[in-house]
Amino acid sequence: MDLNLTAEELTFRDELRTWLASNVPKDWNEWREKPIEESFQYLRAWQQKLHEGRWAAVSWPKEYGGRSATLMQQALFWEEMARVDAPPMANSLGLGLIGPTIIACGTEAQKKRYIPKILSAEEIWCQGFSEPNAGSDLAGLQTEARLDGDHYIVNGQKVWTSYGWVGDWCELVVRTDASAAKHKGLTVILVDMKSPGVEVRPLRQMTGESEFNELFFRDVRVPLENILGKANDGWNVAMSTLMYERGSYGARLHLIFKRYITRLIELSRTIQRNGRPAAEDPLIRQKLAQCSAEIEIMRFNQMRAFSRITATGVPGPEGSIQKLFWSELNQRLQQVAQELLGSYGQLLGGDPRAIDKGIWSYAYLRTRGNTIEAGTSEVQRNIIGHFVLGLPRSY
């Protein structure tokens, strides 16, 4: 065990720090609270700038515009980005999930065609996986692609699609062989969202925003050259995308949570409870301490998982607890925030008396999605039970 940064890690971090110091936008605070539809061009420009500095996709291999960064360096990247409060990048799914999948499974022609524009944010990507009747049971999806000469004809519906409203391209999982066993008849295709027959509708979520969309496909023609990987091997391609989903995301979250708890501690010094600052209330102290400690443990788990992957090349068992840990921790953390803020906790951003522009009411509602998106807590526990502990499959 050695938790000091290596020389390479220090060099990486310092180079990034220097670059960020002169390039991170100073006016992000003016944009942060605006709807993403308004700030999207801003986020595109920021990604373009990162790309010019070769910082847009540090985990990608060098030959595709990345830095072949180790997991630890990726974690450092997100920590530094959070430290300077950098805006997010516009094409986050393209950079985080879909680009790596194309690099791993795509043809040379596909890599040449798609990769550069993912990096530059010229083409925004979305992901068509879940369906109204295929959520946790993803392999039960029904969107069908029928062969017609050198094209597929796609019909069906997808749901919970982030960036659907702005997407130029979609990584779409479709059923290409209805007679095969459910995992075997799937194919991943790359679909131009401007194709005739594609319709995008906003899906309003319980927070009031529309982060997600519903996608409808009616006789959409997709050339066969847009198959990613092999036909009827879509399950494996889709799984490799989901694996990236669990990559270094936690490093970002750790700093976001850390910022939450630091702010709550600050607020506890001024909020009054029983005639004295909440910071002196024993119960509030217990709860803030519990959250602080768990946020630290989340990072320790993460570092252990990264070290395991680095040493063995495969994610270790402790990696599987990350999603479960952070999503449930965030719910506990936001509940503590609500207890601390009392009646003020419910105020929305538009209210002049809202604390911190209403981020706490928003975060409280938003965390309900955390234990559902990217694999529900129930699915995570199934994965641990079956794949880690070796218990018989329960479904």
């Binding site: 501690i265 630290e296 070796g390």
Partner: protein
């Protein structure tokens, strides 16, 4: 940055596991817990041969000179085997107190024999108020004599000497000293016996001020958390094995999600405790500014997790989990005793609060 075990650390952990499996299997553990002191001289000499009795202490005092991470690994494996007897009291607790508080001469006199496996020892801390806060200690020394009562003193009856924490210093009391009375307390954990220590004008030798105690207590606290991790690991293994083989409604019960998800939570709690304990060991070894906070994070989490892992394990076992013959309750008893020893989760949350709310942050190194 590398948060994994080095080759030699992995080797130490593996050989400790094999050692305890061979020398202290469940049958032996159960035999010892039925004895008065849970101490076995033959087992002690084997622990000594392994170098475990001197593991973290300097070679100058016959120690092995390994680090705190290594201590965590050894204690994890000792906890997994539910090692009975005075190893924690003697080596981890008394040894760390001597190292932190003692002069070179007193270390030569008391620590070196511990490392060489020649003596057993313990530390008497709690009083009637049962507070782990050193500020609450009442007992004081006058003219080199101690008078008062200490409670919950582990393994006192088998100790050759006791370190007594007084208001005004740390003192060594010989087990044969006059005015010393040691009587057993009847407590849940059968593998680590607790005693009342009464001192009545008992001659004592001062070895140093109490000011250096927090550091020694931090090492002991982290080691206790490591031991809890080992207990959780074993409880998880026993439970998963049972869930795979026990059949009801024609299926292994581990196929039911109500059971499987509890196993997954046991795993999450065990692994998270382990991460926190390893970090604490590293922070102590490096004298990191956040070492004390890291110890509290580990003990806080492991105290609660040790109990909930036990709760879940017993529940999943159904009636079998409630029997004497199943080992789970022995781990559960130890977990309850260790939960309160050196401060329960509530105590450590308040300690964390005093660090993060009242002064600065507990930011981890490498962040």
């Amino acid at each position: 940055m590398q948060f994994g075990l080095t080759e030699s650390q992995a080797f130490l952990k593996d050989s400790a596991r094999k050692f305890f499996a061979g020398e202290c299997p469940s049958t032996e553990m159960r035999r010892l817990m039925e004895t008065d002191t849970a101490y076995d001289a033959a087992l002690w000499s084997k622990l000594t041969d392994q170098g475990y009795t001197g593991i973290i202490f300097p070679e100058a005092y016959s120690g092995v000179g390994l680090g705190k991470v290594e201590l965590m690994l050894l204690m994890e494996e000792a906890g997994r085997a539910l090692l009975p007897g005075p190893f924690f009291s003697t080596v981890v607790l008394a040894g760390s107190v001597l190292e932190a508080v003692g002069t070179p001469a007193s270390k030569e006199k008391y620590l070196a024999p511990i490392c060489r496996g020649e003596v057993r020892a313990t530390v008497a801390i709690l009083e009637a108020g049962a507070s782990w806060n050193p500020r609450d200690i009442q007992l004081g020394a006058a003219n080199g004599k101690l008078t008062g009562e200490k409670l919950f003193v582990s393994d006192a009856a088998i100790a050759d000497f006791l370190l007594v924490v007084a208001r005004n210093g740390v003192f060594v009391v010989d087990s044969k000293a006059r005015g010393l009375k040691i009587s057993p307390m009847s407590a849940m954990d059968l593998t680590r016996k607790l005693y009342v220590v009464e001192l009545s004008n008992t001659p004592a030798e001062e070895i140093g001020p109490a000011t250096a105690l927090p550091r020694a207590f931090d090492v002991a606290t982290a080691a206790l958390a490591a031991e809890l991790v080992g207990g959780m690991q074993r409880s998880l293994e026993i439970t998963v094995e049972y869930a795979k083989t026990r059949k009801q409604f024609g299926k292994p019960i581990g196929m039911f999600q109500a059971v499987q998800h509890q196993c997954a939570d046991m795993y999450l709690e065990t692994e998270s405790s382990r991460s926190a304990v390893y970090y604490a060991g590293w922070a102590l070894q490096e004298n990191s500014p956040d070492a004390a906070a890291a110890v509290s994070v580990a003990k806080m989490y492991a105290s609660d997790a040790g109990r909930t892992v036990g709760n879940r394990g017993i529940q999943i076992h159904g009636g079998m989990g409630f029997t004497w013959e199943n080992d789970l309750h022995l781990y559960y008893r130890r977990a309850k005793a260790s939960e309160t020893a050196f401060g329960d989760a509530t105590y450590h949350r308040e300690r964390i609060a005093s660090m993060v709310i009242d002064s600065g942050s507990i930011s981890a190194r490498g962040a």
